[in-house]
């Protein structure tokens, strides 16, 4: 008998008087001490199970069918008081955003104590003892000092460790971890994953691990359920599902994810996952519109769950063709790089003064320490490093949103850091930036035509509305959006489409260098693949170089030919991608590289496997 088993579990949402199934017929069985991964892109419904158990479904959502039983008892039919008694004790949660999960005005000790008191530890001394043991188990040294500290005094990784310690403190039988590493720095990922896995083994806890990362799921999970548009499309042992996927979606998702070891073309799943509102209009297999092996029967009715092995279930009638899906072979990525430096950065430095000169306590923070690099024409250079390492500061210095303390930025031999109108004009013409958050980067009150051609109304330029309309249509077709989108507002677009508009705006007056700050970070794998391919195509058509700032090394490996590694404001390593990735010199580069789970589901993740 499993710890948690779902049978035909259904969640429906009420949207504008229509009742839409957000999760349809989800079934799984989680055995004690096992890890079940719920994987899928955002909006697939993978968080719904955790939310349903925690009684935290969004307004309008309700469990309307099937069963969910915890240790053989029907969890949904249970009296609220009994259900509450289980939560926090027998069932614990590890949240996605550790900082917002802790109360900022209480010390770690107070919150830990409160939690332990609630789960039934009587004496204060006992509770403190238990808290210290758990913190030590979570590899947090100096537990006693930690208990007296407030959440803001700790790093995100430490907060997550505290929360993991708290989750396991009551010896729960089930832990639900919802994207526990997503909000943290990449270098923290392996340690947190490792900690969850170790705690899980030690306590014999069953874990539901919700993630969007297939590679990570392959490493940590025993079983996985792949979700798409509210339905479990594939379910089985992690190794067999991820090394030999039977559903085209799983396969396509893997092929859309850039590889860490080789540069292969990405498989692009067209379009995007249907939203809840679109679901009622779909008939047949929900993946059919995007599926490469679709046949007429797929559109007729929803595919039944079929067994490909005794424990491997797939909802696809074309499962046998899945293995034939492969990434497009011709790689256009290796485009000729002209070895002529276009952008040269020489000893760039940025210091911030803190405190007051007059009242004492003047401190200087060095955000960027004498950075020197160059970018050649048509070259895509990556800038990687953990958050706070100064990557974004370099971007801002390049485009002129911040002024450097010292150093020079040269474009075609001309210094941009001079404060003259010519320098500003040259900078505007040659350097443009693509912002990270497309939501904030697009003026919600402008129509798309006006946004993408905004460069044409700058300064004393006065383009006619006809010229702008024509250019807007050119740009929209360039970035693969329908030309009749010109009259739309940003709010009418999806995240991926907004990011395309963001790119189009920067490209409007054909700059020589793009500075792209984490432009694919917030996007799902299939949308990310579309954008990466778009960037490569645009380069071959328009010709521009790019400084690509990212924390995602596999994306960098795929897109760029050279890499700069930043650590605490300094560029500690730079060179061709292949060299740096296969033979990293600086310890920080090594730490970054080892934080990515291997491509092969069966391969061991070094940092994870070593005891």
């Amino acid at each position: 008998m499993g710890i948690l088993s779902a049978h035909d579990f259904t969640v429906t949402a009420r949207l504008d008087d229509a009742v839409v199934p957000a999760i349809r017929g989800l079934s799984f069985d989680l055995a004690p001490g096992k890890i079940l991964g719920l994987v899928g892109e955002s909006g697939a419904g993978k968080s719904m199970v955790g939310r349903a158990i925690a009684q935290l479904l969004p307004p309008g959502f309700a469990v309307t069918g099937g069963s969910l039983s915890f240790e053989g008892r029907d969890f949904l039919a249970m009296a609220p008081a009994r259900r509450r008694a289980l939560l926090g004790r027998a069932i614990a949660f590890i949240p996605q955003a550790p900082l917002s999960a802790l109360n900022p005005v209480l010390t770690i000790g107070q919150q830990f104590d409160e939690h332990l008191a609630r789960v039934g530890r009587r004496s204060r001394a006992q509770r403190r003892e238990r808290a210290l043991t758990m913190l030590a188990a979570a590899q947090l040294p100096n537990g006693a000092t930690l208990l007296a500290q407030y959440p803001h005094q700790l790093s995100g990784g430490m907060c997550q460790r505290v929360l993991i310690a708290m989750a396991f403190a009551s010896n729960p039988r089930l832990v639900i971890a919802d994207e526990p590493t997503t909000a943290l720095d990449v270098t923290m990922h392996p340690q947190i994953i490792r900690l969850i896995a170790d705690m899980q083994k030690e306590h014999g806890t069953a874990v539901i691990f919700i993630t969007h990362d297939l590679r990570l799921a392959a490493q940590i999970c025993d079983d996985v359920v792949v979700m798409y548009a509210g339905r479990a499309v594939e379910r089985g042992p992690a190794q067999s599902v991820l090394s030999a996927p039977a559903h085209p979606y799983t396969r396509c998702l893997q092929l859309a994810n850039p590889s860490m070891t080789e540069r292969r073309a990405l498989y692009v799943i067209p379009d995007q996952m249907p939203s809840l509102r679109q679901l009622p209009r779909l008939s047949g297999c929900h993946f059919a519109p995007r599926c490469p092996v679709v046949i007429e029967d797929c559109r007729r009715s929803e595919p039944p769950n079929m067994k490909v092995a005794s424990d491997h279930v797939v909802a696809c009638i074309r499962a046998e063709t899945t293995r034939q899906i492969s990434a497009p072979s011709p790689s256009i990525i290796a485009s000729a790089v002209v070895e002529r430096p276009l952008l040269q950065v020489d000893g760039l430095e940025k210091r911030y003064a803190e405190g007051s000169r007059w009242f004492g306590g003047l401190r200087e923070t060095v955000a960027v320490k004498s950075a020197s690099f160059s970018i050649a024409e048509n070259e895509f250079v990556a800038l990687v490093g953990e958050s706070g390492s100064g990557k974004s500061t370099i971007a801002k210095l390049l485009v002129g949103l911040e002024q450097p303390t010292s150093g020079r930025i040269l474009v075609g031999g001309q210094d941009l850091t001079e404060t003259s109108t010519q320098a500003r004009a040259l900078r505007i013409a040659s350097l443009q930036m693509v912002f990270q958050d497309p939501q904030s980067a697009l003026n919600p009150r402008r129509r798309l035509a006006s946004i993408v051609t905004q460069a044409m109304e700058a300064g004393s330029r006065h383009a006619t509305s006809n010229e702008r309309q024509t250019r807007a249509q050119e740009l929209l077709s360039e970035i693969g959006l329908p030309t009749d989108f010109t009259t739309r507002f940003p709010a009418q677009l999806s995240g991926g489409q907004r990011q395309r508009i963001n790119i189009a705006r920067a490209l409007c007056s054909l700059p020589k260098v793009l500075v792209a700050d984490e432009i694919v970070s917030g996007l799902d794998v299939s949308i990310q693949a579309q954008l990466l391919n778009l960037l490569v195509r645009l380069r071959s058509e328009l010709g521009f170089a790019m400084l690509f700032i990212s924390h995602d090394l596999s994306v960098v490996r795929h897109l760029c030919s050279r890499v700069l590694v930043m650590y605490r404001g300094e560029i500690v390593e730079q060179g061709p991608i292949e060299t740096v990735f296969t033979d990293p010199q600086h310890p920080h580069t090594r730490a970054l590289l080892s934080s990515v789970p291997p491509d092969e589901p069966a391969a061991a993740w070094p940092i994870f496997a070593t005891p």
């Binding site: 004009a425 443009q432 930036m433 904030s440 003026n443 460069a455 700058a458 300064g459 409007c508």
Partner: protein, 284 residues
Amino acid sequence: MRAISRSLRSPRVMIALGMILCIGCAAVFAPSIAPHDPSEQNLVSLLLPPAWASGGDPAFPLGTDSLGRCVLSRLIYGARTAMTVAVFASLGAMLIGSVLAHISGYFGGLLDWIIGRAVDVWMSFPPVILSLILMVGLGTGLDKVILAIILVDWTRFCRVLRSEVLIVTRRDYVAAARLLGFTHWQTLIREVLPATFPLLITLVSLEMAIAVVVEAILSFVGLGVRPDQPAWGQMIADARQYVYQSPSNLLFPMLAIFITVAAFNLLGDGLRRTLDVRLADIGR
């Protein structure tokens, strides 16, 4: 624009606009609506009750005051004073306050510091005392009332708008506009102002309510408009002495002030609910 049409559909805004339109019409067409000249004295019919009460005269629908002047006519002409002050004082305060707020919030640094401290100092004077002192210095008159209200109340706009400008200025699209070559002026007008505009209109409508009240207070103490110009505050002050003989004379101007202020506040509230994107989804 979508927001404007959305707010016009909101019942609050529609009711408020209807009320303001009525008062505005009364003010504009006062000479043709009012049954009498507001300063015409009828010494034979002093302190008449309203026409429907016993002893009322149908020629004076709302009765007469202590000098035998028609209360209804004075109310209608008083609306002129009130609306003129409401419109010009709030627009003037908005202009000064919002220009300074945009400069302060957009450029930041030393400018922001100077403007911020000026507002701090200004706001530490009690507003009623400050406006009384100003009126004593400036002398009475409609233009002086407007000037006094502008000088006292621009700080309100400056404070509230500055924080909104700060938020908008930090959005990436404002930075993007600069990177595309927009001048500071272009960025402020085309990117920042459209985003702060809804708050600006809301504040103007709320300020109109305040201006009506302040004008009434100043007229009440005799420091507002000149005595020959009818104003609601003045009517209250006159009626105060004869409150036992004719309470209705006190009641009508008070009612007029109440309705006008309520209409402007309702408009402000309705606009805030519909124009503010943060409230647009929940409110109403």
